[in-house]
Symmetry: C2
């Protein structure tokens, strides 16, 4: 995972993209994940600066560097990585799966090095000449039956892999889990309601208590929901339905 | 990581999407990663079946289920997960980062359970009513300054996380690393060329030899490239440039 300072050491280089909407979409994904250095090798003179697909990232697109060649685009980068959909054509390069390739880029950035991450054109990907600048290639693990991704989606997936982390699970909005006291109160209310309703037959008390305890634990309730349940069950205890 | 059989236990549910191109892009990403079950809760009667953005996935789009409500869409799923850009509004749900949420979905699938993965509309995301069907929410870790992703890109990133694996690094196309014998041959050729060129001054032989050996090891050459280098250097050895 790249730290905030390291994000700036990765330049996304779009080589010969033809559709300005794809360039804009790439810029949006870059901005989503905090990568702000975009270089467009604009072989087809695409008017991309105003692409409306760069929702939330018009400045990034305005500030993008425009280069005449891959050589110019990768100027200050000590690692040059090409992205590819397929492994068979590029026999001259090692091809890493995205998961492993992103790890190598992270290590390079952690050591202070700059990386250029090259994406080719929508139809043909990177040319052999473009590939000759790359130390190695990175492949998104698409399935063999449908390997070719949309350019904007491919950029999004690669950059996500660079910022993903195995960090903490719950990030926001979770209420506190119910405490043991709250769960026991709920359990009491449930058993009371079960008794009152005639659910518990003589001789089955112990088995039903255990069943109820397990049931409640499996629900993984938060405090608020445990209270709601307790209130509902307490009500049922007071007014049991008549058995027919 | 989901296995091939488990992919079929995840249904992507697009709720109230307005742009058919986004629905098509979602279908393309699904097909790229091997998820074939799409359900469209089509609140705005969008004509999405022929969306040209579903490159390589027209059948998936043709076969998509069309539902009138979220309740109908999630019918056979025992886990319902909503995607969200933000954690603050959804105080009633735990919000997991994508990395952790995907792990939970994988475990559910491994146990034979079906999951519905809900994506909301482009502008507003999932409504409170939609969210009420969800057990928990999942958030792509976009940066706070720009949280909102394009729908097709969000689908691609979520599905990628579900199929990513920490597996083997080099997947294809890598040639065999050069053997020690090949590297020693190269080293000999390099030293020969350095001698012939006058690079090596009397008394510096040992230091230069060590320098050359380290230099060559750092290059991590494969067999073919080592041979090319050896051939080039052997040539230089035969015809040194005259020093001025």
């Amino acid at each position: 995972m790249l730290t905030k300072g390291e994000l700036d050491r990765v330049t996304v280089v779009l080589v010969a993209a033809r559709n300005p909407l794809n360039i804009g979409a790439a810029a949006r994904a870059m901005s989503n994940f905090g990568f702000l250095r975009l270089c467009v090798v604009n072989r087809y003179e695409v008017a991309f600066r105003e692409a409306r697909s760069a929702v939330g990232a018009p400045e990034l697109l305005q500030n993008a560097e425009e280069c005449a060649s891959v050589a110019e685009a990768i100027g200050d980068c000590s690692l040059v990585v090409g992205t590819t959909a397929v492994g068979s054509r590029q026999v001259e390069h090692p091809v890493h799966r995205l998961e492993a390739g992103a790890q190598l880029i992270s290590e390079h950035a952690a050591g202070g090095g700059r990386t250029a991450l090259l994406f080719g054109s929508e139809k043909r990907g990177l040319s052999n000449d473009d590939l000759s600048y790359c130390q190695w290639l990175m492949r998104i693990p698409t399935r063999a039956e449908h390997i070719s991704m949309n350019l904007g989606q491919a950029v999004a997936v690669c950059l996500y892999e660079l910022i993903r982390s195995e960090g903490s699970s719950v990030v926001a909005g979770a209420l506190a889990q119910a405490t043991t006291v709250e769960l026991e109160r709920l359990e009491g209310a449930l058993l009371g309601a079960l008794h009152a309703s005639g659910y518990i037959k003589p001789g089955t008390e112990a088995a039903t208590e255990e069943k109820a305890r397990r049931l409640i634990r499996r629900m993984q309730l938060d405090s608020a929901d445990a209270e709601i349940w307790t209130g509902m069950l307490a009500k049922m205890q007071l007014k049991p339905r008549r058995k027919s």
